[in-house]
């Protein structure tokens, strides 16, 4: 590869198989990225549409050039603007599973999977043997002679994965791999895909806007919004302590920015005051395990908020405030009420409670939440 001879001085740490540090500018859009993925690690890239997830994936695949910075895989530079190195896509050791799979419609399942080995000038027979091994592994042998048009969504997804893996890639890139599937198939394929990803020895990047997919299938999450990384960490950590409204919304939490004073009261930017003492950040060295003061984020689960028709008198919750119902949405087993107040909140209650409280749009309502159910942590922004 073109960069191999001069890569010596800038090798990324050996633990990171993939290291990206740079930017891509496309017209007025700019993506800034700085991340590393270890061998065998599955990094989820989560973000709303247009955040730059696919641009990141295309830069890694060699379909888009970095504007500044560099990409290194296993110590070899794939893209380095300063050194004028760019390894074109067809020479990168990558496997890409595209959103709509992009299977070749005129080729059979077997020839689709044998495509990459054939491109490497492997003989026809050997290529077919490689394809056969992957078909066996992914349970596709019976579909060998079919054309993509004759496959179900789940089958097509597996063929796309097999086709990418048959290239024997050093880096696996998946762009919304389950987005094209219906809900039921998604469930089956998700577990299966997770298993196959666990078997893959190299770094994997999984781009998604589906929070469940991101939580279940990845080892670590990077959240991108408007071309910037806004949060990263283990999925559970991201889910518990969202750093932005977008993340809070996808993981289903109420999130408020505010300022916490020494007495423990948090004055919220959105209006209102909350006393929060839940889930102190023991790893936060700056506060030595105590709740932080200054700029903080406050997160409340929609189920941790109780609703009352009158002001609760006898209850212990330290946080009580008033609001108005502005929306009701039926989730699978509960109802999510949208409350406008100071602060506004999403509250999950049982359908029974909706009837008991006689909820309807415009109805005034009292909300309460225990201080211990409200998490407070430092605002990274």
């Amino acid at each position: 590869m073109s960069g191999a001879d001069r890569a010596g001085t800038h090798r990324p740490p050996t633990s990171a198989a993939l290291a990206v540090n740079g930017s891509v500018e496309l017209g007025t859009f700019r993506l800034d990225i700085d991340l590393a993925v270890g061998a065998g690690e599955v990094l989820g890239v989560l973000g709303p549409n247009g955040a730059g997830k696919t641009t990141l994936l295309r830069a890694l695949a060699g379909l888009t050039m970095l504007t500044t910075g560099q990409i290194a895989l296993d110590g070899e530079r794939l893209d380095d603007c300063a050194a004028d190195i760019f390894v074109p896509s067809d020479q990168r050791p990558i496997g890409v599973v595209f959103q709509n799979y992009r299977l070749f419609p005129h080729l059979t399942v077997r020839d689709n999977i044998a495509f990459a080995p054939r491109c490497r000038r492997t003989g026809r027979r050997e290529s077919r043997a490689i394809a056969q091994r992957w078909m066996d592994r992914l349970g596709l042998s019976e579909l060998s002679g079919r054309k993509p048009a004759e496959l179900s969504g789940g089958q097509a997804q597996r063929v796309a994965l097999a086709r990418a893996l048959a290239a024997d890639p050093g880096l696996l890139l998946l762009d919304e791999p389950l987005a094209a599937l219906d809900a039921r198939t998604k469930l089956e394929v998700r577990a299966e895909l997770r298993r196959h990803l666990a078997d893959f020895p190299g770094p994997t990047l999984l781009v998604t806007h589906d929070p469940l997919e991101a939580m279940v299938m990845t080892d670590r999450l990077v959240v991108i919004e408007s071309g910037q990384i806004v949060q990263q960490g283990p999925p559970a950590e991201v889910a518990r302590r969202p750093a932005t409204q977008y993340v809070a919304r996808v993981v289903g939490l109420n999130l408020y920015r505010g300022t916490r004073d020494a007495t423990g009261k948090v004055a919220l930017d959105a209006g209102g005051t909350l006393i929060a003492s839940g889930l102190l950040d023991l790893n936060d060295q700056a506060t030595n395990g105590a709740a932080p003061t200054g700029r903080v984020l406050v997160a409340i689960r929609p189920t941790a908020i109780a609703m009352h028709t009158t002001r609760p008198e006898h209850s212990s919750p330290r946080n009580v405030w008033q609001g108005t119902v502005t929306g009701l949405e039926l989730l699978t087993d509960r109802v999510r009420a949208e409350i406008n107040g100071a602060p506004p909140a999403l509250v999950d209650i049982t359908p029974d409670a909706v009837a008991d409280l006689d909820l309807a749009n415009g109805r005034p309502i009292w909300l309460s939440a225990k201080a211990t159910d409200i998490d407070v942590y430092r605002d990274p922004a």
Partner: protein, 250 residues
Amino acid sequence: MIGFAFLMLPLVALLIRAPWSGLGSLLSNSEVLTALRLSIECATAATLASLILGVPLAWMLARIHLPGMGLLRALVTLPLVLPPVVGGIALLLALGRRGVVGRYLDQWFGLTLPFTTAGVIVAETFVAMPFLVVTVEGALRSADRDLEEAAVTLGASRTTVFGRITLPLIAPSLLAGSVLCWARALGEFGATITFAGNLPGTTQTMPLKIYNAFETDPEAATALSLVLLLVAVIILAALRDRWLRGSPSA
């Protein structure tokens, strides 16, 4: 309905007046067979030449985005609307023995195109190639670039992508374009007679033969016309699926 009748009437007349009884002997006439064979050979050669020159041109027009590409595209289709006689004269001025380029072909290589079978092929290619270019260009334009991109990520070089992905995807349009091109070349008259002349056995293709025969032996001309009509109907039948269903290449 009147429009349809107008289109069909001459063809029906041709069928009515065709000398059905003498058809066999007329068509086994060696001169006719020579002209027919020459026509088919030249049209086929012109189609091959169009494929070799036209497919890369179509690819360029469809895929390269440079200022002036629109003008180039318009120029390529010019022979479609140019009267073939004008095309023939233009060819003579370019490739004739005293032509802009033809002069050097003659001086340096002893190559003369006018009044040779090669000249017929050149004239037919000039007139018929735009049919192929336009059809293939449209297909390339609408071909799925995503699939080509997927092939690249799997390690396919440019030529592999073209050969294994792009070409198979546009195959139906390529075939249709070739058939159109061949049919146009087979019926070519104006440019051929102007540039290549009307020499039996060398440059006298079926349309020229029919024109000649019409002055001496109208019955024979009718019979020969019938043959070309038959060819046209066969082509139409072959392309029926494409046109009746109105579906461009998949």
